[in-house]
Amino acid sequence: MDTAYATRIESLLNDPAASAADMRAALSDLYDRVRTQQQMLDRLTQISDKYQQAERERGISYAEQLQRKVRRVEKIVRISDGYQIMLQDLNARLTAISTHDELTGLPNRRYMQERLTQAAALSERTDASFSIALADIDFFKLINDRAGHAIGDKVLMRVAQGMRDSMREYDVCARWGGEEFLILFANCDKSNAAQLAERVRLAIASIDTSDLHDGLSVSASLGVTEFVAGESIDAALKRTDDALYQAKAAGRNRVACNP
C-alpha cells in the first residue's frame, strides 16, 4: 500500500467529522485495490498449478521411457540367449562329427584313443583292469571287389549295428580303421573279455547279408588282450593285433587271446 493512500485513510479514520462522500470514495478505492490483488493472486496460483502439472507429466513420461528401454534391453538379452543356445547346439554337432565315424555312427579312432588314455590312467590309479579287442571283418576286400564298395559300406553298417547290439552298455566300440573295430571292455579281465568278444563274433556271424549280394555272408576275427598297468597303450594294442593275427591264421571267424 503506498504511503499517500495510507495517510489518506488514516486521516479519514482520525476525523470524526469526515463526510460520508469522502468515506465512500475511499472505500470504493480500497475495494478496487482488493479486487486487483485478488486477481493477481488467482493468476499466480494458476501459473503455479500449471508448472506442477507439467513437472508431473514430465516425471510420468520419464518413467514410461525408462520402462520402454528396460523392455528393449530384456528383448535383446532374450534374443542373445537364443543365439547362444544356437551356438551351443552347433558346437555339440561339431563335437559329434569330430568324434564319430560318419558311415557307421560309431565313435572314431580319435575318440577311442582318448578313451584308452583315460582307461589306462584310471587303471593305474585304481587297479581297475580293462581289456581291449580288435575285430576285423574276414575277407572284406573280397566283399568290396565282388559286390562293390556301396555294398561293402552296407556290410560295415550292419556289422557296426551288430556289435553295438551285442555289447554291454558301458563298453565302447569304435571304428578303428577301414574294416577294423576296436572294443574297450571296461572293468573286465581277459577271460571275461574273451567271452564278451565271442558274443560279438557270434552276433556278426549271424548277420544276414544275403539280400545285399548273392551268396554274401559276413564274419569277423577278434584278438583280445588285457591291459597291464604301467604299460603303454601302444604295447597293449600291439598284443591285440598279434592275437588278431593268430585268430586269422587259425582259420578266421574266431576269437584269440593274447596273454
Binding site: R72, K75, I76, R78, I79, S80, G82, Y83, M86, L87
Partner: protein, 125 residues
C-alpha cells in the same frame, strides 16, 4: 543418394542397400569387433531413404548368427521402419533361413514381435 555396399567378411554380413530399388539385402553372420562402425552407415542410409526417397522400403535378410550389439543395431533399424510405417510409409521385411537351422527362424519371430509392418519369415528353398 548412393547405394551402400559392404562386403561380407567372416565376422560381418554382406550389406547391399539399393536406393533406386528401395531394397536392403543383408546376408551372413554378424559379430564384428565394432558393430557401431558397421551398422551406423546403414542406419544413416535408412534414415535418409525414409526421409527423402518417397518410395517403399523392403528389407531382405539372410542373417544367421548375430552377437548382442548386432541384435541391438537390427532392432534400431526395425524401429526406424516401424515409425515410418506408423507415418503411413510402405515398409516390409523378409527373413529367410535354412530349414536345417530352425532356431534362426524362431529368433526372427522374436525380432518381428513388436513390428506392425509386414514381416515374413520363410524357409529358404
Amino acid at each position: 543418394m548412393d547405394n551402400l555396399v559392404i562386403d561380407q567378411s567372416p565376422s560381418s554380413p554382406a550389406i547391399m542397400a539399393d536406393w533406386n530399388a528401395g531394397v536392403i539385402r543383408m546376408k551372413g553372420d554378424s559379430y564384428p569387433e565394432n558393430s557401431f562402425e558397421l551398422f551406423q552407415p546403414l542406419i544413416d542410409w535408412v534414415e535418409a531413404y525414409l526421409a527423402k526417397a518417397g518410395r517403399p522400403l523392403q528389407l531382405e535378410l539372410e542373417l544367421v548368427y548375430l552377437n548382442t550389439s548386432s541384435i541391438r543395431s537390427m532392432m534400431d533399424i526395425f524401429d526406424q521402419m516401424e515409425s515410418a510405417h506408423k507415418k503411413g510409409q510402405t515398409v516390409s521385411a523378409r527373413w529367410i533361413y535354412e530349414a536345417a537351422n530352425e532356431r534362426v527362424g524362431q529368433l526372427a519371430e522374436e525380432f518381428c514381435e513388436d513390428c506392425s509392418f509386414p514381416f515374413s519369415i520363410e524357409v529358404k528353398r
